[in-house]
């Protein structure tokens, strides 16, 4: 009984939501990017760049907002790099993506050294404070959802809704979905496919950067090397399992986050190492289960023309 209480508690719900934030943001970025026909294996690296950018921005200006904006900028730039490599120079998309991961991992360590004279971590900076929503926070039980939570939580939910609406209710979304499946059809319909691709990949980079900033200046208060720790790949898995649909991504991210939350919030009589594996094993199982069945953008990864 105690275990069930632990699992279905308000604490677990809040922990799940918090951990779902970076996964959701990055995986919606992945959705937008892949819908434009470009595979993005560089999510991990883009998130890492964002995490570093957020700390650096906060460190130099003392302002959390500047930190976040800087994370968006850095993330957007990694997105632009991926876009230029894939669209302008027709680099293999998987190579470019993995390259960005390696670049981000190495470059952030070098920059840590250059800025803070430290190996693989930064100095501590100001954290983004939580906010409370007046009125709503007074509601019994669920009031906790609106008390002292990070603004990222609400922004993320808003982004899920906006992304879904744009994807399925607007001309921009329809065009993007056509581009992912049949770029030539989109071109023949007068859509500027190249423009859509650049915008999508850069937007993906910005969302990943934003996700990364959550890890470094909300959940934590400093940058640590490789602090994304595979969440980028989990986000990619959420992109796929969610059927390249922002709402699906959100639900999958919640599932993965739930596994992470169990690890932290529930005391089980299982070796810690096994518990730590849980989110990753779950990701693998999910991908094995749906791998062949979900139908993604048909032309993703293929921009040979």
């Amino acid at each position: 009984m105690n275990l069930i209480h632990q699992i279905f508690s308000m604490n677990m719900l809040l922990a799940t939501l918090r951990m779902a934030i970076p996964l959701t943001l990055a995986s919606i970025g992945g959705v937008i990017c892949e819908r434009s026909g470009i595979i993005n294996l560089g999510v991990e690296g883009m998130m890492l760049s964002g995490a570093f950018g957020a700390v650096a921005g906060t460190y130099f200006t003392g302002s959390s907002l500047a930190g976040i904006l800087f994370a968006l900028l850095v993330g957007g730039l990694t997105g632009l790099l991926h876009a230029v490599l894939c669209i302008r120079f027709h680099t293999r998309q998987s190579v470019s993506g993995v390259g960005i991961n390696i670049l981000a991992s190495g470059l952030t360590i070098v920059l840590c050294r250059a800025v803070w004279k430290r190996d693989g971590l930064s100095e501590t900076v100001k954290q983004v404070p939580g906010i409370s929503i007046p009125g709503l926070e007074k509601i019994p039980v669920i009031g906790r959802l609106f008390r002292g939570q990070s603004p990222y939580l609400y922004i993320t939910v808003l982004i899920v809704i906006i992304a879904w609406f744009v994807m399925y209710r607007t001309n921009v979304g329809l065009r993007l979905r056509v581009i992912g499946d049949h770029p030539k059809a989109a071109e023949a319909a007068g859509v500027n496919v190249t423009k859509y691709r650049y915008v999508s990949v850069v937007l993906c980079g910005m969302l990943c950067g934003f996700a990364g900033s959550y890890l470094s200046i909300v959940q934590s208060n400093l940058f640590v090397k490789d602090m994304v720790a595979g969440r980028g790949y989990m986000a990619l898995a959420a992109t796929i399992f969610g059927g390249w649909n922002p709402a699906g991504s959100f639900l999958t991210a919640l599932l993965f986050a739930f596994a992470q939350a169990i690890r932290i919030n529930v005391s089980l009589n299982i070796p810690e190492q096994l518990l730590q594996m849980l989110p990753y094993v779950l990701t693998l199982l999910v991908l094995m289960g749906v791998g062949g069945r979900v139908r993604g953008p048909q032309a993703s990864g293929d921009i040979k023309d």
Partner: protein, 498 residues
Amino acid sequence: MYAVEMKDIIKRFGSFTANNGITLLVKKGEIHCLLGENGAGKSTLMNILFGLYRQDSGEIRINGKSVENHSPLAASRMGLGMVHQHFMLVDALSVWENVVVGLEPGGFRIDRKESIRKVQELSDRYHFELNAEEQVGNLSVGMKQRVEILKTVYRGAEIIIMDEPTAVLSPPEVEQFLMILRDMRADGKTIIFITHKLKETLAVADRITVLRAGKSVSTIEAGNASARELAGMMVGHEVDLEIERPFNEAGGAVLSVEGLRLLPNAASTVSFDIREGEIFGIAGVEGNGQKQLEEMIMGLIKCREGRISVLGKDVTKLGTRKRRQLGIGYIPSDRLNRALLSSFSLEDNYLLGKQFSDNYVRHGIVRHKAVKEAAGTLMREYDVRAAGMDQAAGSLSGGNQQKLVVGREASDEPKLIIACQPVRGLDIGAIHYIHEILLKLRKEGKAILLISAELTDIQQLSDRIAVLYKGEILAARKNEDFTEEEIGLLIAGHREAV
């Protein structure tokens, strides 16, 4: 007044001149057929008209207005629409979404109701019998084509270019398609119909322009034309459209197929025998289990239900190599992926499939001399025209590529030949040649399975014909016992025609 005037169009790709001074005049409100073999320059000319390519010289006028700085966007603004040979449709989306994309009613937020209403209205006007909310992936090929036509009409096209529209249709679908063309003409649309099929041309065209080797041979009134004359203009010399299939005594069974399930949801399984000296033709539109039959016989995909035996030996569980060693020659339907390595030399391509033979490979080392000799003999015997043995297979014309494949597969005394779509994309001369070779192999006593989407192939060559529809053989009879109409109806799935 002419809807389209293209004068002295020249277009070069490197050293190759695709259009060498072509003139095309299309009257308003007519169905104008652009007839020519593969490589005659039809598609290049139409791509220029639609603004996808820029001509090196020559003048284009649309509705009397001279066209400068052409682009697909400009073309569609001038009332031009193009239905491409390969559909530009997204299966995962609905009919209306496919139609309105790029020109959506309602601005940023799509007005869904209005979109559906408009698309449905257009479909009803031309009797397309489409449901605007249906997902495109669920439609048959013929219906998908109507969606493509709808796309052009929705964009206000008055002049519609159709690139080989009937290539993918079953005979009754072709009939319906020609009806649609007539309906559209009655509605005042101008139609340019690209094809290499004489029958359809004569059935529907008002005027015909014949292209050959990048030049316009002539433009004639359809009423004054005969199939023979048109074929002669396409090829450049008199052609024999008929081919004789003399009686041949069939021997014992070579290939036996029993209870094979081609498609998971097929209503029944497939069984047949093919005997020595016999051509067994599988008629039907592609996608009805042809690919599965081909690949199951060759052991390229597993067959989950049924048995295949070659010369009395059960091969169902054998791998492709073991099967080939029993004496199977294989002409795959996918020439450039399964039959040839396009960037490899002709010599290397000759070796493909013979790499286990002691004649050409000893102790793992290729005997280049032997391969070269054999390949040379083949090229002379089968009239493969190439600059030399080192030329890349991909640089040959389709006809010469196919001659190489057929020659290779017919060498080393096979007992059984699996010929899949053997004349796809070939010109009249090459088709005739491949037909003759297949009949020669038949005379030599080889058993031949002929899978072809071209009904003329099947009718001209087969001793017996089976019609494949949704993974099921609807009828199998002697060639003489079928009328052309019956086969056509069966191909479209009209079981009651039997």
